[in-house]
Symmetry: C2
Subunit: 222 residues, 2 copies
DNA sequence: AAATTTTACTAGTGATCGATAGATAATTAT
DNA sequence: ATAATTATCTATCGATCACTAGTAAAATTT
């Protein structure tokens, strides 16, 4: 399926590769800690090209966040939601986070869980955008926990919001510790303790029927 | 005890009040999100006065961090360590954090738990300084947990480092959520779930003798 | 009163910030 | 070939960055 080439001078750079380079910088140094000069040096072209292709620094950051979500976070969450129980979902997600946050091929921590927490007043739109994405991740947990209550994996008395806040806090804390140099083993130990607070069945709910999953078989290790 | 006035023109500002004003800005907007112009406007004098009194922006930030520690964190940790059991210490600390992180008279979150996570390369000394202080907080937990193991509040098989990492992660996650707008009730619910993962006695250890503390009596509420 | 010491201000410094005007290059359409 | 379109560059914009030289002001010491 060869697409006809558009009019005008063709791009000399690969857009995805340029977004990867920008992501690496924003991830490691934050929005305010990354300058246009840093970005153009890493992306391999000059400021006018950046502005023609991406609009502004803020537009580029937003696009980099979406690039990150498609590349990492969305896959992690979707794979976790495919697990057969809410407990297994959380275990999968936390273990995947422990590995991802310490992956040496990317900067430490999560690009959204602990990003843009404090910015100058003129950059508050960025702060709110990243907070909105954190909230979506939280909502993903809440909805899965509500399903778990209907499946009787969780007692009906459980507060889904509180439990989702708890596991969201764990992910955010793991991101801070990864940035501070924690190993994946350190983070998995944190995840295991967080999973020990699970207030319901540690297998799938009574309305499901498949095999029982145990603590030992992780979704991503082995 | 009247101290004799020093030579030279006297200060026209109160140093502690100036540090309070600088703390509010660094706390809310971070190191890179706060400019010298912001600081001098809030502190009530001009740049040369700031530099004569505090050295540099980086020196001022370090002094503000110490000001914060003396004012908030050290008191919280010392009060927590005065509790009669490790479990009570953690409960006190987490509850105090939940209140403090959402105190409307200060910016949301903790000034060190989630500060300076991402900075430009030229500001890495700041990143490392704040990370060092986070590590000290972690060490405080570890040492108290080691005492708890000797007191048989905790089984000897417990990994103090992992457990301290877990509760440190909770504090850091609570700080992120406070910044994102969580209420003190939200954070106390997170703290309660974290406390439910405590792997030992929920009263003081067998080598102690005083009264048993229960979940219901918090160190700071009522 | 004069000298000394410390503080504070006005008015800038050079460097870097995010962003752009204008020219040129590289392609397709006519 | 010429026009139209798109991309890229050199050079630079005004604003802001952290910071300071030089001077005046306010106190103590002599």
């Amino acid at each position: 399926m060869q697409t006809t080439r558009p009019r005008g001078r063709p791009r000399t750079f690969d857009r995805q590769a340029a977004l990867d380079a920008a992501m690496e910088l924003f991830w490691r140094h934050g929005y305010e800690g990354t300058s246009i000069a840093d970005l153009t040096a890493a992306m391999g072209f000059t400021p006018p090209t950046l502005y023609a292709a991406f609009g502004s620094k803020e537009d580029l950051y937003r696009e980099v966040i979406q690039h990150f979500l498609l590349r990492s976070e969305r896959q992690r969450m979707e794979a976790a939601l495919n697990q057969t129980s809410a407990y297994a979902m959380l275990r999968y997600y936390l273990y995947a986070a422990a590995e991802s946050f310490t992956d040496p091929s990317t900067p430490a921590g999560c690009m959204v869980a602990t990003a843009a927490l404090q910015c100058a007043v003129e950059n508050q739109p960025i702060v709110q955008e990243v907070a909105r994405i954190r909230h979506q991740m939280f909502i993903g947990f809440v909805e899965r926990l509500d399903v778990a209550k209907r499946n009787q994996e969780l007692p009906e008395t459980i507060d889904s919001l509180a439990l989702a806040n708890f596991y969201t806090a764990i992910v955010q804390g793991m991101s801070v510790q990864a940035i501070d140099g924690a190993s994946s083993a350190d983070l998995i130990a944190v995840a295991d303790l967080a999973l020990s607070a699970w207030p319901g069945e540690k297998s799938e709910g009574k309305s499901q029927k498949a095999k029982v999953q145990r603590d030992q078989d992780s979704g991503i290790r082995g």
